[in-house]
């Protein structure tokens, strides 16, 4: 993974509500134990018109310049449904580095930060306004997402600040490994369990 500080990129507006992880990466694409190589299956049922990977020309990621998008815009509750992390891996493998939406489902939201994908929450109207500006320019106008300053700059140079959890932000800015970070708490974890074994023995002995 690389650090996420600031990106400027092509934006693909996919303004649907409740885009679920089955749509992002269909179940039939989940055939590898590895975390790589899922980009081809991204939005598989929408992107291809048949089982032979024949592109559906109407789908946004099959059109220029959107096929080079690094930012995705979507409507509320993006990433709902199945916990499959391959939904995140499919987006990043395709080249998406940031998804902007009014809200995200929590499992997807949490998994994104662990894979270098930034989920940005903006107000419903603001997401639609950016989508409108992008569509007006046929996708030629780019958008800036700045994690250091915590703002998005739209094609018409409006600045939309966003907030993001400090710890998750730090993880992306510095490309930290959460497991390594947590292992520094090993003495506290051990102390918790020592005490807990006495107060809740049924958790540890069965």
């Amino acid at each position: 993974m690389e650090k996420f500080i600031r990106i400027i990129g092509v934006v693909a507006p996919l303004m649907r509500r409740n885009i679920d992880t089955d749509a992002i990466i269909p179940g039939k694409e989940l055939i590898k134990v590895e975390k790589t190589g899922y980009g081809e299956g991204l939005f598989g049922q929408w992107r291809y018109s048949d089982g032979n990977r024949k592109e559906n020309p109407d789908f946004i990621l099959n059109r220029k310049p959107y096929r080079h998008a690094t930012i995705l815009l979507a409507d509320e509750n993006f990433g709902c449904g199945s916990s499959r992390e391959a939904a995140v891996w499919a987006l990043t493998d395709f080249g998406i580095k940031c998804v902007i939406a009014p809200s995200f489902a929590s499992i997807f939201y949490n998994s994104s930060f662990k894979n270098g994908l930034l989920p940005v929450i903006l107000k419903d109207n603001d997401v639609h306004a950016i989508a409108h500006q992008v569509e007006e320019s046929d996708g030629k106008q780019m958008v800036t997402v700045d994690l250091e300053r915590c703002h998005v700059i739209s094609p018409e140079y409006q600045i939309y600040p966003f907030s993001v959890n400090d710890i998750y932000r730090e993880m992306l800015l510095k490309d930290l490994d959460p497991i390594d970070a947590t292992l520094r708490y090993e003495p506290q974890i051990a102390a918790f369990q020592d005490k807990d074994r006495i107060s809740r023995p049924w958790v540890y002995h069965y």
Binding site: K28, V33, T182
Partner: protein, 472 residues
């Protein structure tokens, strides 16, 4: 005196190892239960990084997602590449000394079914699994939620998770359930009222007399679909019904430890003065048997109702969403749901494949046959559920009615992944599962979600059927 707390607050607070700031905590995880999809990927990651499993005794694994549910099954599965997940999980759990409920283990079943059934999940615990329907376990008073496989690695290595604290939501079901209305109808009705994003950022507690009156199977069904309105998780406070449920379960505490445990479990209720950030009250008198018409669980209506007209949508975005769903489902607005012909019926999944579900369906199927040309499949939630059902003769009722009687697993809930079998494009399937998403049960398949009773009634007539009209 301490501030009044919700049940979620109490369990959360008792698991904090460190306050990391910005509403974020390092939490202890009491139970880590993994399956062959997320589990094998996470164990591969752990091995690649050269890490160890911190607490094997708190870690469990099961084959449930991609395995074949046909009788006489082996490692072979209709899922392309599925055998790799099965063999990876088996090999890596063995190498790490993790308890695995393998394909032929008499305790095997869908993880969300067997964790309560075996007493592995216990009230007041924190519990995770690499599956979004982990919230099911909330039905027995466990703080349980689904996570991605990178977080699974985190739990393997540290027995903790870094989590932001969700807001508190409560849904009160008041009054009594009407005839042929079950837990599944309650939760579908709720989601139709609050929407598929109605619980986002919240942990939801289900409460009220109609919840208290539910048996544990029903409570698990309610919590199973908490994720379908995008809550972080769902939970129901443990009561005497819960305590009785655990008595004598294989992994439940015994003797003096049992006495100590139940004393603690009885404290696990929201304080009467506890504040919730959001509250919804549902009058059960308003709930009829439900069925979904569209492509989201929020598209649920009374079974005697009609496909809604997008022209009546509250705003342009809702209208577009509804139009898209109607176009996928291939039905016209204002069509009565009962006029919809069904090609197949599936009774199974972590939502509705427990013994009481099978008993209720059998009550309808008894002495009847499914409609000609219909395919009907039942996959009990676990081997134990299946054995108990068979000891009551339920298998014979299903088989004589024309159902396939399968082994347990996620089965036909999800095409491609679970079980690897789909239905055919354009088919309408009445399913007791939890997701009617586009292509969920096969490319172009139109899924209609309902209770096992509505599913059984529908299998008999061949069209979506109000179970109140079929009689026992």
């Amino acid at each position: 005196m301490s501030k009044p707390a919700t049940l979620v607050d109490k369990i959360w607070d008792s698991h904090i190892i460190a306050d990391l700031g910005d509403n974020t905590y390092l939490l202890h995880i009491d139970r880590n239960f993994q399956h062959e999809l997320a589990g094998s990927t996470a164990l591969t990651g752990i091995d690649k990084a050269g890490r160890q499993i911190r607490n094997k005794e708190l870690t469990f694994a099961v084959m449930d997602h991609v395995l074949n549910t046909h009788p006489g099954r082996s490692d072979e599965t209709p899922v392309p590449g599925g055998i790799n997940f099965i063999r990876e999980l088996r090999q890596r759990t063995r190498a790490h000394g993790i308890r695995l409920f393998d394909i032929d283990d008499p305790l095997q079943g869908i993880s969300h079914v067997i964790a309560p059934e075996l007493g592995i999940a216990l009230p007041g615990c924190t519990y995770v699994c690499g599956d979004s329907h982990t919230c099911t376990i909330g039905g027995i008073g466990v703080l349980a939620w689904g996570i991605g496989s990178t977080d699974v690695e985190h739990v393997f290595a540290t027995q903790t998770l870094i989590q932001t604290k969700p807001k508190n939501m409560r849904v009160i079901f008041k009054g009594e359930l009407r005839q042929e209305v079950f837990a599944k109808d309650m939760i579908l009705y709720l989601i139709s009222q609050v929407g598929a994003a109605g619980g986002i950022d919240h942990a939801v507690e289900f409460a009220g007399p109609a919840i208290n009156n539910l048996h544990i199977d029903g409570r698990l069904t309610i919590c199973n679909m908490a994720v379908e309105f995008s809550t972080r998780t769902g939970i129901i406070g443990p009561d005497e019904t819960t305590i009785e449920y655990f008595r004598g379960r294989p992994f439940a505490p015994k003797g003096e430890i049992w006495d100590k445990a139940i004393e603690y479990w009885r404290t696990l209720q929201s304080d009467p003065e506890a504040q919730f950030d959001k509250e919804v009250v549902i009058d059960c008198a308003d709930i009829k048997p439900q069925v979904t018409w569209g492509t989201s669980p929020e598209h649920s209506v009374a079974v005697d109702g009609c496909i809604p007209d997008p022209a009546n949508a509250i705003d342009i975005h809702s209208r577009l969403t509804m139009e898209r769903a109607i176009s996928y489902i291939g039905l016209k607005p204002d069509t009565p749901l009962e006029d919809v012909k069904i090609d197949a019926v599936f009774i199974g999944s972590c939502t509705n494949a427990r013994l009481s579900d099978l008993r209720e369906a059998a009550r309808i199927l008894n002495g009847r046959k499914i409609a000609p040309g219909i395919r009907a499949v039942c996959s009990p939630g676990s081997y134990d559920t299946k054995r108990r059902a068979e000891s009551e003769g339920i298998d014979k009722i299903f088989i004589e009615a024309g159902f396939e009687w399968r082994e347990s697993g996620c089965s036909m809930c999800m095409s491609g992944g679970a079980g690897g079998e789909g239905f055919s494009p354009g088919q309408h399937v009445l399913s007791t599962t939890n997701r009617n998403f586009e292509d969920r049960q096969g490319r172009g398949v139109r899924s209609h979600l309902a209770s096992p009773v509505t599913a059984a009634a529908t299998a008999i007539t061949g069209h979506i059927t109000d179970p109140r009209k079929i009689g026992v």
